[in-house]
Structure formats: C-alpha cells, structure tokens
Subunit: 178 residues, 2 copies
C-alpha cells in the first residue's frame, strides 16, 4: 500500500437481493419519482462505520418491512463523478440475503411498488435496470447450480495492529476453509 495517507473518495451504497430459495422468488421494488418504473433490489447508502451486510439488511427492512440475514457478496459497481455524491465516486455493492420474514410493508415515501418476483421473470423482463437484469441471471444460475458457484463469502479476521476486526469477502472453496 501507498506510503502516503489517503482521504475518503467514495461513498458506499449497498443493495440486498433477498432470495427465497424454496419459491425461486426475489424481493424487488420500484422507486417513486422515477420517469421509468424499473424493478430493482432495495438498498441505500452505508452509514459511517457500518459493515456492508448490515447496510443491506437495514435498508431492505426500512424500504420493504422484510427482515433478512446476510449470505454473500455478489457484485460491485464503481462509478465516478456520481450525481448523488457531490462529484465524488460511488461504490455500489450487491449482496445476497435470505429472508427471515416474508410479509411486505413497504415505505410509500420511497417505493411505488414492492413484490416477491420470480427470479426467472426478473431475468427476462425489460422493466428493470441493466444491473438488476444481470444479477437476476446470476441468481438464476445460483438457484440452478448452487449458490456456491456465485457467492463471495465473508470471513472476519483480526487486524494485528489495532485489535479490531475486518471483513474479507472472497470465493471460499472447501479446501480453503482453514
């Protein structure tokens, strides 16, 4: 790593794809106040010091009323000069979550619609964003071939110098589970 200290250049946004494996459905929302109403995964910005998985679970609950737990990291988008970030850069991370509750009670300030949608339908529809469409195809692959083919799992490790912990996300294979 560099010899010079840096400064913060990125905001972190996290979306949660809550996948119900038994029904093959995923929780999606449509934003209020958008010209095109496209299905997407609920999500939002990380609070300072908040872990990726915590943001995903919190934002999903705030937007949809559904409780869930973190399973894996799936994808990352990097965008510079982000309009919602005062010209800074944006890192948008998509996680896979498992539902703990199923009843939808969505935030009408943020969302126009909220549904459990068939993942296969989400992968086919044009009423979605390019990222959501690609992630739906990825989730379909996971449903059919096992989520171990698509997941980056989380491992918490101690930082030697500070006594704190950090989170490492990577593809874990059976032989690697130390």
């Amino acid at each position: 790593e560099s010899r010079l200290p840096g400064f913060a250049t990125h905001q972190i946004g996290v979306a949660g794809a809550v996948v119900d494996e038994s029904s093959g459905k995923v929780l999606v929302v449509q934003d209020r106040n958008k010209t095109k109403n496209a299905w997407k995964f609920p999500g939002g910005l990380s609070d300072p010091g908040e872990n990726i998985g915590t943001t995903a679970v919190r934002e999903v609950f705030e937007e949809t009323g559904v409780r869930s737990e973190f399973r894996s990291l799936l994808s990352i988008r990097q965008q510079h000069n982000h309009p919602g970030a005062f010209g800074m850069s944006d890192m948008y991370i998509i996680c896979r979550l498992s539902p703990l509750t199923y009843e939808i009670n969505f935030c009408t300030q943020e969302c126009l619609r909220c549904e459990w949608l068939d993942i296969s339908e989400l992968a086919k529809t044009s009423e979605t964003t390019p990222i959501t469409s690609r992630l739906a195809s990825l989730l379909l692959h996971g449903l059919e071939h096992g989520f171990d083919k698509i997941d980056l799992n989380m491992e918490e490790l101690p930082a030697v110098y500070s006594g704190r912990f950090y989170q490492l996300y990577y593809r874990q294979f059976p032989i690697l589970k130390l």
Copy 2:
C-alpha cells in the same frame, strides 16, 4: 438507494496479483519498514476518479517495474477506523492481472524484496499476511480448475442519465454473455 445524498466515507486501495499462468508464479513484494517481513501483493491507494483496474496496474508498475493488464476482481476487504485513512473506512480490493513484462526493477523506497514466487509456495508459507495466504489458495484453485471459477469479470455499461460509463464486476457465465 437512499433519498438523501451522501458523502465520501471510504478510501479505496487496490492490490494486483500478477499471475504468470505458464510458470504458476505470482509477483510478490516485502515492504520496507515493517517489523515482520511478509510477502504481499503490490498495491496502493486509488487516485480520485481512477478505476480499480487502472490503480492495480499503475501501483504494480510503480512498485515492481512489471507491466501488466487487468483480468478480474477477486476479493474485497472492508475495514473501519483505518489508521492510514484518518479514522475513515478503507475498502481494499484485490485483482488478478496478467504480466506483459517479467523483468523486476523494484522501488527500493517502498520495497525490501520483490520476486516471482510459486503460488503453491505462497499458499503454504507462514511469511505472509492472512489475506495474501487466502488469496494464494484461491489463485491455486484458479490455476488448477480454471480462473473462470474464481474471477469476477468487468463489464462497462453506460449510465443512462449522465452519458458516462460505469464498471460492473460480477461472475459471468457463458449464458450471461449478452
């Protein structure tokens, strides 16, 4: 995403694992000025507006003199209250690169040693960091079973509202290549 604009909370660091597939070796360095000399992948902080892959290639060249090209994203670490980030958070991303040149000409201000090391040796040695050790095992899996088993590939997509492009990193399967 959230209704409120955010502010930057994270600095982005990127390391590059330059893998020579023909020899099964990877480029590693040991930092100068560390109490314990551990093998790690060269890397450093992203400049504002710089893409992940560009940072990896630039930092590898600055530290080691080896030219390379971006192949995939492999792993992410999130750490809060980072000592080198003025108490902000740090996102540290590890990429896989392919070498374009092989001759080492390392930066003696930053590095004590720099070598092409057998990936299998790096996966076994105790003279490394917990992250590097895990990534070496992951790379070994890639060498043996194909890097398509471990890679998150990059796709560049147009941002509808700004005319700019963003980079999406995800596991691409043959059926997904649209």
